[in-house]
Amino acid sequence: EGYVNEARQTTFVIYVIYEKNVVFFVLFSAADMSLVRFRASASRLQSLVFTGCSRGVSGAVKDKEPLKKAKTPQGRFDIPEEKTNPVLEKFPDDVNPVTKEKGGPRGPEPTRYGDWERKGRCVDF
């Protein structure tokens, strides 16, 4: 109940049941092959707006409005993003402090073991 604000794509209304001032919408979601039943009070029906992709026979997508971006549940993704790749950080100014090489490979010297190593992978030998 309450206001549900979701954008569901590839969902079709199969049938509508109206009884005792309550409207049930049975929706089939092609994305995950599920049947969902929504219940709405008839008194709120005037605020119900049918929008969606009408993929007509022509095959063209006729969007009346731009698709709304799905909003994540608030608070769950507020952890600051971790920096991926702390292992191979860029040198300051891209200059290797030991060898003074500018624009060279990041991290320790790739040829230190005799082959060309990067992130544990050998790329040339």
């Binding site: 040829t111 544990g120 040339d124 030998f125």
Partner: protein, 635 residues
């Protein structure tokens, strides 16, 4: 196969009527758009030739883009250097199987080639003075091996090959090369032993295109995909080698395939030797550190071919791990995690992404992996394709080859690190220069004999054979019994039979697989983007490469460079070079192995015939750069 040929004549009539064939005419055609192909293509365009570049991939997707190592050149930015020392190192690295004139050419041109790349805009890493930074890599030494380590390897951060390819592609757009992207080259058009062009399948709409040209350059890359475990892209299927084989020309030294002992099982990524250097060990299914048995002193730090062979023996004897017992483990979890993280940063990420293991808890599944093919289409130092008849090298008119597909042969029996990118640019440019020297653009248009309905030009039985496949898939006209087979890609998964003794067994098995190729059936009947068909064609190409590789390997009864055998552990040269040659009797050509293998295949039966060609021992200019007489190779 016989009934196919009978039906094919019937079909060939239908081909020209029902199957659209588009003709193009160019001054030069380049097949393949990797490092070598692009360099050749725009070199030709620059010289004024109307050039076509036929490629099955978009140029920047070629496998050159995956080369992360550097490129060697004796620029002398870090210490005094001389290209003659680079020449010595390369000849030694090739185990004296490399043609010294080609190596002379490559190492002499190297500094100019690298500077040219830099002028094209390739962002090499720099020293404080602004010169190109060079590092020590790939067995390079000073003063003919006596002056210590040389610093010759130039690089662009971690992505030299990527940067090279993009630089070359960007540069090539300045010239008006016509790119035919996503056209799968089927066969060469040969007439009276001369190459007159290429025939290709447009993958987008299924039409066949004939590119008529007086000059054809093959730069299609290697054939790593004949092996189950390789670092190559899925597209490295040796198409150029197969085209040349079907045209009745030989391929050279295909048995020299460079392996790396520790490649991640299933992924094809290589694990650095540093893991073993830091204390990692290889273990078999019994948890035994098996390297102690094979190399009691060096153990896991033995040389690469010893390690690869040991791993293969363990797997063959049934002590492999995994559900199919076809690989071994590289154990690192006995080392302190902190040490791993500081000494080998990124390895836990690599192991997790490619092997799905936590390197601090589980071992990494590894097996010997193919990395590079030293062999390929035989050429001289100018890039012209040659055959060897009656003891002499004879140029095939109109045909050139460069890059990994060619065998010039600069890498000989073993490639040194960072030399292959150099090989690409130098010989790509060499092909362009040779063509420019030999022909003026637009001079003497080829008199094109109209393709008669009943007989296609010799050597291009390829198109007929291909169109049989097409017709069978498209129109089901042939009523040949076609059994269902395993998916085409899975066919050519085979492991290295580096173990001799099993070499003959390998040859027999390969024959069986070759015969079973007749039963290929394509399921996709469409004409647009028929990847099923293209993969079947690639499979046939892989098969031709594989069969030559294994027969050449079985025949070569010695160990040289990357070709190592348990039953013949030594190099067999014309003299025994471990002793002074004075007073030794020179072995006749038939009795020693310092020679190139030239392999021919009859595509119908899969029978391989082998001939041999002597190694070129003189350099281009003995005054300027004396050739290096053979010696025992030890590092």
């Amino acid at each position: 196969m016989a009934s196919v040929c009978a039906a094919s004549r019937l079909l060939s009539k239908r081909i020209s009527t029902q199957y659209p064939v588009v003709d193009h005419e160019f001054d030069a055609v380049v097949v393949g758009a990797g490092g070598a192909g692009l360099r050749a293509a725009f070199g030709l365009s620059e010289a004024g030739f109307n050039t076509a570049c036929v490629t099955k991939l978009f140029p920047t997707r070629s496998h050159t883009v995956a080369a992360q190592g550097g490129i060697n050149a004796a620029l002398g930015n870090m210490e005094g250097d001389d290209w003659r020392w680079h020449f010595y190192d390369t000849v030694k690295g090739s185990d004296w199987l490399g043609d010294q004139d080609a190596i002379h050419y490559m190492t002499e041109q190297a500094p100019a080639a690298v500077v040219e790349l830099e002028n094209f805009g390739m962002p090499f890493s720099r020293t404080e003075d602004g010169k190109i930074y060079q590092r020590a890599f790939g067995g390079q030494s000073l003063k003919f091996g006596k002056g210590g380590q040389a610093h010759r390897c130039c690089c662009v951060a971690d992505r030299t090959g990527h940067s090279l390819l993009h630089t070359l592609y960007g540069r090539s757009l300045r010239y008006d090369t016509s790119y035919f992207v996503e056209y799968f080259a089927l066969d060469l058009l040969m007439e009276n032993g001369e190459c007159k062009g290429v025939i290709a399948l447009c993958m987008e709409d299924g039409s066949i295109h004939r590119f008529r040209s007086q000059n054809t350059v093959i730069a299609t890359g290697g054939y790593g995909r004949t092996y189950f475990s390789c670092t190559s892209a899925h597209t490295s299927t040796g198409d150029g080698n197969a085209m040349v084989t079907r045209a009745g020309l030989p391929c050279q030294d295909l048995e020299f395939v460079q392996f790396h002992p520790t490649g991640i099982y299933g992924a094809g990524c290589l694990i650095t030797e540093g893991c073993r250097g830091e204390g990692g060990i290889l273990i078999n299914s019994e948890g035994e550190r098996f390297m102690e048995r094979y190399a009691p002193n060096a153990k896991d730090l033995a040389s690469r071919d010893v390690v690869s062979r040991s791993m293969t023996i363990e797997i063959r004897e049934g002590r492999g791990v995994g559900p199919e017992k076809d690989h071994v483990y590289l154990q690192l979890h006995h080392l302190p995690p902190q040490q791993l993280a500081t000494r080998l940063p990124g390895i836990s990420e690599t192991a997790m992404i490619f092997a799905g293991v936590d390197v601090t808890k589980e071992p990494i599944p590894v097996l010997p992996t193919v990395h590079y093919n030293m062999g390929g289409i035989p050429t001289n130092y100018k890039g012209q394709v040659i055959t060897h008849t009656n003891g002499n090298d004879k140029v095939v008119p109109g045909l050139y080859a460069c890059g990994e597909a060619a065998c010039a042969s600069v890498h000989g029996a073993n490639r040194l690190g960072a030399n292959s990118l150099l090989d690409l640019v130098v010989f790509g440019r060499a092909c362009a220069l040779t063509i420019a020297e030999e022909h003026k653009p637009d001079k003497g248009k080829i008199r094109w004999h109209r393709l008669r309905r009943d007989r296609t030009p010799s050597g291009s039985s390829g198109p007929v054979h291909i169109t049989c496949l097409l017709h069978c898939s498209l129109w089901c006209l042939c009523c040949l019994p076609r059994r269902e087979t395993v998916p085409p890609d899975a066919q050519c998964r085979r492991r290295v039979c580096g173990q001799p003794g099993q070499a003959e067994e390998g040859c027999d098995k390969m024959d069986d697989i070759y015969q079973s190729l007749d039963d290929i059936k394509t399921f996709d009947r469409g004409i647009v983007w028929n990847t099923d068909l293209v993969e079947s064609l690639e499979l046939q190409n892989l098969m031709l490469n594989a069969v030559q590789t294994i027969y050449s390997a079985e025949q070569r009864k010695e160990s040289r460079g990357a070709h190592a055998r348990e039953d013949f552990k030594d190099r067999v040269d014309e003299y025994d070079f471990s002793k002074p040659t004075q007073g030794q009797e020179k072995k006749p050509f038939e009795q020693h192995w310092r020679k190139h293998t030239m392999s021919y295949v009859d595509p119908k039966t899969g029978k391989v015939s082998l001939e041999y060609r002597p190694v070129i021992d003189h350099s281009l200019d003995e005054q300027d750069c004396a050739h290096i007489p053979p010696a025992i190779r030890s590092y």
